[in-house]
């Protein structure tokens, strides 16, 4: 196969003139990381709430939480993204919908992807939180109640601090997933890493260099997250529990 390797292509000024192709990659990297991190915040907050609701002794609340999880788990991420991006602005009251459509397209893409990815992942986080809470001995909850804590206090001071420490390893893999899933935002045009890979192919005609560079960047993100989470896991693990000493 006669392929002309040219790694210097990344140092060439880009077609738009004001940056090198390496600069494009770095821009894509920044979008991928900021999208994933902001979506992760949503996923953790919403996922914790939904996960707790699934375990509370109230049929309506736990039913709502179950419906939430099933809804977000059984529709493909891509379909959800298109619904947030294309459908939602149409269904909102006209004034609001138009305001969204007239805003900066980059922010439209970013926010649609952020909310989509955040809520999609929240369903998965909720399942981990629920299984974390359910893995704790029943006595913990009863002991809390017997000590005179209210139910919310039992969750806040007794159950959740333990549950989070137990579920940290599975949460790590959800955290890794959110970076990988962020690549789906390429379909609505957000210029994150995998979009830049495709753009580089179009502009430089050096597909292999572009794809290898972007793949390596995803691997770097993966390795970094795994390293940091391992350190955190070592610090917080509970002796005597799964993964504990």
């Amino acid at each position: 196969m006669a392929y002309n390797w040219n790694w210097e292509v990344f140092l060439q000024p880009s077609a738009t003139g004001d940056d090198t192709y390496l600069g494009w990659l770095i821009t894509g990297f920044k979008w991928t990381v900021s999208l994933s991190l902001s979506a992760w915040v949503i996923a953790l907050v919403v996922g914790s709430i939904i996960g707790v609701l699934r375990t509370v002794p109230n049929r309506w609340l736990s039913g709502f939480a179950t419906a939430w999880v099933e809804l977000f788990r059984n529709i493909p991420l891509l379909v959800q993204l298109f619904i947030w991006y294309f459908v939602l602005p149409e269904l909102l009251p006209q004034g609001l919908g138009n305001a969204i459509k007239q805003s900066n397209p980059l922010w439209q893409q970013f926010f649609a992807a952020m909310i989509c990815l955040g809520l999609f992942t929240s369903a998965r986080v909720a399942e981990q939180v629920r299984s974390g809470i359910e893995s704790l001995p029943k006595g913990q909850k009863n002991a809390g109640l017997a000590m005179g804590f209210t139910l919310p206090q039992v969750y806040r001071h007794v159950l959740m601090p333990m549950a989070y420490r137990v579920i940290l390893p599975p949460l790590t893999s959800e955290f890794l997933n959110i970076f990988k899933n962020s690549a789906v935002a390429t379909t609505i045009g957000l210029i994150e890493l995998s979009r830049q890979a495709q753009q580089l192919v179009d502009y430089t005609a050096q597909p292999y260099e572009a794809f290898i560079a972007v793949t390596v960047m995803y691997l770097l993100i993966n390795v970094t997250v795994m390293f940091l989470m391992r350190r955190l896991e070592e610090k917080v693990r509970v002796p005597g529990f799964i993964g504990g000493k």
Binding site: R73, P76, F86, N181, V184
Partner: protein, 224 residues
């Protein structure tokens, strides 16, 4: 307020059904090849030969660290050139072929992790017993360990299949008309994107929700 107009859906049913067939074709190929290749990878990873084990681990970790979108795009880049090298320029539409290859090789990495855990869940004594009865290590794996392992991990394999079914919608990035791609194109053509996207979401939900309920019932029977 937005006024819904669902009239473009009934006429598009044959197209959508054709799209669904493409979705199923990719899903089923990936399940079959993924489980076969995944089993080989899992056995290789547990092999006592360090080179084989390392190679299998490298394959699995590489595929598991890269977004599926990138994998699909990678194979769309590589497969056509490979086919051209073999068959010349007359190869027709290679989008389906490259999607099939991408999904099969990608899913194998995920399946192999499930299968590895399944193999490790079989008590060590079973291997010892097999060897003591005069089976070769290969026979022990094939006739004693794997059947029990597969029984243990069936629910997980099915759950992964449901995830895979959802993920096949990502062939959108190479323009292949699967169920979702067809729904998008019809919606775009008729100016009825809102209705078609909601319809696609509903169909996916119904299929995946029923399938996951079935898996749950199956799991309950297995636990007994």
């Amino acid at each position: 307020m937005y006024e819904f107009d669902w009239t473009s859906i009934p006429g598009a049913i044959p197209l959508l059904a054709k799209g669904l067939l493409v979705t199923l074709e990719v899903t089923i190929t990936a399940i079959v090849v993924g489980i076969v290749w995944g089993t080989i990878l899992a056995v290789a990873r547990l092999s006592s030969n360090p080179v084989v084990a390392k190679l299998a681990a490298g394959y699995v970790n590489l595929f598991r660290s890269v977004p599926l979108v990138m994998v699909i795009l990678w194979f769309y880049l590589i497969v056509p050139q490979g086919l051209k090298a073999i068959f010349g320029n007359d190869i027709g539409d290679i989008r389906l072929t490259s999607a099939l290859v991408a999904f099969a090789l990608f899913e194998a990495a995920y399946y192999s992790e499930i299968i590895r855990a399944g193999i490790q869940s079989v008590p060590k004594g079973q291997v010892g017993a097999g060897l003591a009865l005069g089976f070769t290590p290969g026979q022990t794996m094939r006739l004693i360990v794997l059947p029990q392992a597969f029984r243990n991990m069936t629910p997980l394999l099915l759950t992964q299949a449901i995830i895979l079914f959802q993920d096949t919608s990502l062939v959108y990035v190479i323009g292949l008309s699967d169920f979702f791609g067809t729904a998008y194109k019809v919606g775009d053509r008729d100016g009825r994107l809102v209705e078609l996207l909601l319809f696609a979401g509903l169909i996916y939900f119904v299929i995946c929700f029923s399938a996951s309920q079935l898996v749950k019932r199956l799991q309950a029977r297995f636990v007994k």
